[in-house]
């Protein structure tokens, strides 16, 4: 039996990109669908603890828009909006992502590649500048801190 590298990786391959890779234990079609259909997304993409995802609209075709929204227990809400540039089920999806306000838009390319019993997911986020990329990392970092995870030891034991 093949031993898959299932661990998630976050790489900063250039000053303006973030690359996230992760094995998804599902066939390619389903892996694509859980990332592109509201009935699936709203079940798992819940945001930080205490948040739910009550809003989801997706017009899944090139030029179509999407809007995802999360709500915290106290009523605070946040939204992501964007437009699909490419939709090639179950292989690839390219879309813009914007958090509103002053946040810079990123161009996100998702690819789904069959691997063993599942699918390798790769997300490349391209930002207009290093400052915009770092600001996005910083925000995600704060969320992550709240979650109180600590997988650093295992990460550091991996080769560089």
């Amino acid at each position: 039996m093949q031993n898959h590298e299932k661990k998630m990786r976050v790489a900063l391959d250039s000053d303006t990109t973030v690359v996230v890779t992760r094995f998804i234990p599902a066939p390619q079609d389903l892996a694509f669908d859980v990332w592109s259909q509201c009935r699936h997304l709203q079940k798992w993409m819940l945001g930080p603890p205490g948040w739910t995802m009550p809003h989801c609209e997706m017009d899944l075709r090139p030029g179509g828009a999407y809007r995802w929204g999360w709500r915290k227990e106290d009523g605070e809400e946040m939204f992501i909006t964007g437009v699909f540039n490419e939709v090639d089920r179950p292989h690839r999806m390219v879309s813009t992502e914007c958090w509103g306000g002053d946040w810079a838009e990123s161009l996100n390319t998702m690819t789904f590649t069959p691997e063993g019993e599942g699918t390798m997911f790769k997300l490349v986020m391209e930002f207009p500048s290093k400052a915009a990329r770092d600001a996005a990392l910083e925000t995600g970092m704060n969320d992550g801190m709240q979650m109180g995870f600590d997988s650093l030891d295992t990460y550091l034991s991996q080769p560089l």
């Binding site: 976050v10 859980v34 770092d134 995600g140 970092m141 969320d143 995870f149 550091l156």
Partner: protein, 115 residues
């Protein structure tokens, strides 16, 4: 957290040749000549990369002019990694929920098939 220093570290890491140099140094000290070997690159070009890594504090170099072995400074790498850790956790939690959701889907499908 020293933002400028971290910024220099990440800039230095945002280059495949420099990452390969660090990976090589993770297995021990090496000279510029040793480091140039695996890359089709002139010594001055490699020296330029080493200068960036040195400025970012990711490596240190020996004092002897002719023979300046480069050494990895793991502490600086760890700082950069610590900084990214929260971001990684943010994603990992989403993926773990996705795993759990896919597990539920499979279980539901099995139930349907069993009836």
């Amino acid at each position: 957290m020293q933002a400028d220093r971290l910024s220099a570290t990440f800039s230095a890491l945002a280059d495949p040749t420099r990452r390969a140099i660090l990976a090589r140094l993770a297995s021990g000290e090496a000279t510029v000549k040793d480091l140039a070997k695996p890359f089709e690159m002139s010594l001055p070009a490699v020296s330029k990369h080493l200068k960036v890594l040195e400025t970012a504090g990711l490596i240190t170099r020996g004092k002897q002019a002719q023979w300046r072995p480069c050494k990895l400074e793991a502490k600086r790498l760890k700082e950069a990694d610590d900084w990214l850790e929260g971001y990684r956790a943010h994603w990992e939690q989403s993926f773990e929920r996705l795993d759990a959701y896919l597990h539920e889907l499979r279980a539901a499908k099995k139930d349907d098939a069993g009836l």
